[in-house]
Structures are given as structure tokens and as C-alpha cells.
Symmetry: C2
Subunit: 338 residues, 2 copies
DNA sequence: CTGTTAGCGCTTTCAC
DNA sequence: GTGAAAGCGCTAACAG
């Protein structure tokens, strides 16, 4: 049997589509449609198993009640958690999320954004992959509602929800120092993004606040593409030429996992031989032995806030409302790695 | 500036929408539209930054080129990998995936399926949460194209792509036994699905094949909703009251991660004090120390196959084609946890 | 080669 | 209280 449409049920009941539409949209009373008519409509709808066609509805109303989410990688638990929190909240407000994973590919990201726009999503939430702003500038120019998460462009006036990378790293390093560690090395990636730069700032400021002199020798930049090997070499060199290094702070979770593997190979014991802390928490760090202390970002809050900001903008009367710039504070989770 | 529509560019060029539509859809040559006209159209489209409205297009054509994917949990890497493989393949064929996570809630699942249908997705791929078949029966009755993954209903004639759970678990347990372990406990969830039942079968058949007597005492059912706590208590009870248990086999990856955390708290060393193996692999299990041996499902294949089957059905001339039932064989990956 | 026209299924204004 | 009719933006059969 073919799917029933508004028209079908109108025909069946010898009424107009208008009436049926009103009733089905709960505007029956408001439009003063008689109880009996309303009942007939509801009954027929149920009997025909009527399901409104969202496409038609959206085309007509100009609203899809869908928001698009573009993240670099669904497989990454960090983004998965954000997505989940967002979805839950969205659902409560009658919105659906359309997730897309750009797989860290800027081209794919651009495609996805366009696909979502073509599908007329009411707004976008994006964790941009690259420093390439063109796509974002486009959205801005078109006045398309969107909010950036995780990463943002300091010079652009856009909505964003990020975590305070500097503060997070400061917390970690400060804690180590208070624990008595003084020679603390900072391990990061080469050619780093804004995010990493801020973490670096946090590292330096923690040293400064505690009266410890910063030394460039304690900073190691690792090549992302030969991660495992490079980190092993650099750590080995640094640790054997500089016996006094007491702690390692990693700028990202993947650096930490690679670094831990390297330490294991080198034969160093945590925390006996060397202390460790990292930015970005992972289930792994909790399960490991010893547990690795980590700066955890408030993923749930990020997801919820981002959605909130977006819906604010979507539902705003103001055509071009003030952009909301939200920076959340991360937590340092203390485990047994120092 | 308002978004440009087909009509806008037709008006601008003093042509009909038809012509413009044909050109923009690449049917220009086929419709023998003059080169000059085509160029004019393309140029205007570019200049106006024309982006077709998919809603309108789909409403008119009856095709959305979107397929809906309903999984129990995006946060689960198992589904994330399936989704990713599927997405990649879909993209190549010009389809988009709309992911939805039911959060293991049957009500939510039903809602999502209906939402996706309302959005006129061309087909559905579903990892059903529960044993309640009503939603699935509905789809079947309506002849809506869909394929089940991961879990299925043996008695229903539907497309599905699953892995052979029994064989997978048999491989794991058999390996442990061959390694010399005899007292092997099976840890699963309460109220389990068909999937778990099959894994349980695999466990029992491996014991049987090796002449080991099955004991109910070695089976622990954990409450999904208080996982962490419950698994800790039950493992603690079991292991302290039954010192001879030599190995733990987990029925799912989340049971295993929770179980490992519990073992760590209890203070047991793997594999010295106790051996471990699990169904479902995760990156985590490889990174950990020791690496955890695991039955790996061919997630990528599942994703690709499921999509293939679905597209077959969608594009089939036959209104009610033969259902494809695909069972893939999992691998047991040996690491250092025994 | 290009234009006219009738939908797709729904919303909503205006009229009776 | 209810209906007619104009659109939303696009496709595609048909006409010329």
C-alpha cells in the first residue's frame, strides 16, 4: 500500500488539506476546528498510518529542525562524547543532529559543509580540521548560523566553545612542580596549531609562576608523520644526555601514548624513574598501570554549550546577533604517574 | 544577499527553469542544449553562487540519496568503525549517511527509525537494540529497504550482515585451553541478546570439544547500567571465593575494559595471576600493557557489505528481491594477556 | 534546442 | 469552522 499523504486523508474525509493540516499540527483548537472534525482526522490519520513527509514540510516551512555536526573523526572518543551530549540535548528541543566525519581532510570537510547546507540544516557545529578559513569565512558571509568547537580562529568574530588550553596545561605543570619536580620537559608536535601554542603557554607560565627558568632544551617537537620512531629517538637522546630530567608533559594524548611506548622500550619506569602527565584524557590512561594523570576536557559541557549557542542564534530575532565566545576550564585528573 | 535559486538564474538569463535545470544536472549535452547556453548558465550559476536545494530536489525526484544508520551507541568504537567504512563507500556512490545513536533505548530507536523515514531516507541500516521486532516488522510490511547488522532475528526473512559469534568465541576459548587454562570464567551482560547467547554457545562448545566440564559458577552476568560497580563486585567475589580460576573471557569489549579496571583495583596481574581474552577488539587492547587478546570482528567488511546489500535492494528492479543473509567470520588476535 | 506546465507534499494567508 | 489557492525549489513529461 502506498504511503498516505495529507491529501489522501483530506479526500477520504471530504475535507480540505488545510483542515487536516491544522488538526495534525495541533492547531485544531487554535483554529476553532470542531471536536468531531478533529477526531475524524486523528482517527483517519492513525488508520492510514499517516506519516508527514518532512522534506515537504521543511521545504514549505523553511525549517528542517536539523543541525549539522562536522567533526574530524567519529572514531575519536573525545568527539564522540561531545556528539552524544549534543544529540541528547538537541533531541529534547526537537532537533536532530546530522553527524559527519571529515576524517581530518579539509577537502572532505568543505564538501560536508556544503552537503549539509544543501540539505538546509538550520545551523552547523564544526570542529575545523585546518587553519584554512575559507569555508568558515563563507559561512560568515552568508550569515549562516554556526558555532566552532574545540578549535577556533582567534581573529575571526564567530561563536565558539573551546577549552582553556593554557589553564589546563598550567594546572598539570603546576601540580608537578608542587610535587617537587623541577626539570620538566614539554613534548609537542611540530608545526603546531593554535591549540598547542596555548598549551605551551600554559607550560611556560606554570614554570614562571613557580620561579623556574624555562629552557628550550626541555622542549621537544615531534614529527607527526613518523611519530613512533621520532619520539623514541628524541626521548632517548634527551633522557640519556640529560640525566636530570624528572618529568615529561605531553601536549596531546597521541603523543603521550607514543611516548609511553617509547619509555617502555627505553626501560624507564613511571613514576620511579620519570613522572608523566598529558593533555587530553583517554580511557586508556585510566586503565594503564600506573594510571596516567591527564588534563580532561569537559566534553559534555562543550557539546551542550555549543548546541545552546547555536540554537540561540537560530532562534534569535536579531539577524546578526553578538557572537558568543565560550572558553571552558578543563580539569587535571591526578592518577599515579608522578 | 538571498540565496540564488534555479528560477533566479533562469530569470536573469531569460531562459526557462527547465533549460537551467538540465544544464546544471549535466544533462545539457544529452538534451542537446547549445554550448553557448550551457556556458551562460554555468557562468551565472557560479556568479550567483548557486547551490541547489536538496530538499526540493528530493521532494521532486523521490530520492534523497541518503541512507539512515541506526546504531546503539556512537561512542562504541565497534560501531564507529562500521560507520566509517560505510560512510566512505557510500560517499563514493554518491550517498550520504545519516547516523543516529539509539543509546540502547528501544523507544529512542523506534523514534529514530520513524524520523529517518519521515526524512525519506532511501534505506536503513540498523543494529537493533532489542528483541522487540515490531519496528522491524513494520519496515518489512512497508517494503522499506533495510539491512540489519551485528544483531538479527533468525526467524525473520530480512537482509543482514553479522559475524559468526559462536565461532569467534570458540576460537578464543579454544586457544586458552590449548595454552593450558582449564578454569575459564565467562563474563557477560544480563538479559542478553541473541549475539551474546551465541558467544556463550561458542564458549560452551569450546569447553566441550576439549573435554572440560561446564560449570554455571563460572558464568557471571553483569548489570549493564551499573557496569563498573557491578563487575567489580562480582569479579571480586568470584575471584576471592574461587582461587582456582585461571582465565576470564569477556563477552563484549566494554565488559572487558570495565573488567580490566576492576582487576587493577583488585590488584591482580595479567597474565601472571589471571589470563584474559575478550570478544570485540579495540585500539585500547593493543596499546595496553599487556596487550589483550581479542576476537576481532571485521568491522570494515560489515560496513561495506551492509551498504552493498542495501544499495542492491534500493536499485533493484525487483520490487521484493531475495534477502541477502551474510555471516562473516571473526579473527582471534593473540596478544600477551594469557 | 527551448519553454510550458504539472506536480512532489506540505504550510499558511485570505476569503467565505 | 472550513476551504481555495499560492507558494517552497526543483524535476520531467510534453509541446512546439
Amino acid at each position: 500500500m502506498k504511503k498516505a499523504s495529507l491529501k489522501d486523508i483530506a479526500n477520504l474525509l471530504n475535507m480540505s488539506k488545510t483542515t487536516v493540516s491544522f488538526v495534525l499540527n495541533g492547531k485544531g483548537d487554535q483554529m476553532k476546528i470542531s471536536k468531531s472534525t478533529q477526531e475524524k482526522v486523528m482517527e483517519a490519520a492513525k488508520r492510514l498510518n499517516y506519516q508527514p513527509n518532512q522534506l515537504a514540510r521543511s521545504l514549505s516551512s523553511g525549517k528542517t529542525n536539523t543541525i549539522g555536526l562536522v567533526i574530524p573523526n567519529i572514531g575519536d572518543i573525545f568527539y564522540a562524547e561531545i556528539a552524544r551530549a549534543m544529540e541528547k540535548k538537541a533531541h529534547k528541543q526537537g532537533y536532530n543532529i546530522m553527524y559527519c566525519s571529515s576524517e581530518e581532510d579539509p577537502k572532505r570537510e568543505a564538501q560536508l559543509i556544503n552537503m549539509l547546507k544543501a540539505r538546509q540544516v538550520d545551523g552547523l557545529i564544526i570542529a575545523p580540521t585546518k587553519l584554512d578559513k575559507t569555508e568558515i569565512l563563507h559561512l560568515k558571509k552568508e550569515n549562516y548560523p554556526f558555532v566552532l568547537i574545540d578549535r577556533h580562529f582567534p581573529k575571526l568574530d564567530t561563536n565558539f566553545v573551546i577549552t582553556d588550553n593554557k589553564v589546563g596545561m598550567h594546572k598539570a605543570v603546576d601540580f608537578l612542580i608542587k610535587k617537587g619536580y623541577k626539570k620538566i620537559a614539554f613534548i609537542c608536535v611540530q608545526n603546531y596549531l593554535e591549540v598547542i601554542r596555548q598549551r605551551f603557554e600554559g607550560y611556560k607560565s606554570a614554570l614562571r609562576d613557580n620561579g623556574i627558568r624555562f629552557s628550550n632544551k626541555l622542549v621537544k617537537e615531534i614529527d607527526y608523520f613518523t611519530l613512533e620512531q621520532d619520539i623514541h629517538e628524541k626521548l632517548y637522546d634527551m633522557l640519556s644526555s640529560n640525566r636530570e630530567i624528572e618529568a615529561l608533559v605531553f601536549a596531546t594524548n597521541f603523543l603521550c601514548t607514543a611516548g609511553l611506548a617509547a619509555l617502555k622500550k627505553i626501560g624507564l619506569n613511571i613514576p620511579k624513574d620519570i613522572a608523566v602527565a598529558t593533555f587530553d584524557d583517554r580511557a586508556l590512561f585510566q586503565l594503564m598501570n600506573p594510571g596516567i594523570s591527564a588534563v580532561a576536557q569537559p566534553t559534555q559541557l562543550i557539546g551542550e554549550k555549543a548546541l545552546e549557542v547555536l540554537l540561540d542564534e537560530i532562534n534569535s530575532e536579531d539577524k546578526n546577533p553578538q557572537k558568543q565566545k565560550i572558553t571552558l576550564e578543563p580539569n587535571f585528573i591526578i592518577r599515579d604517574s608522578q
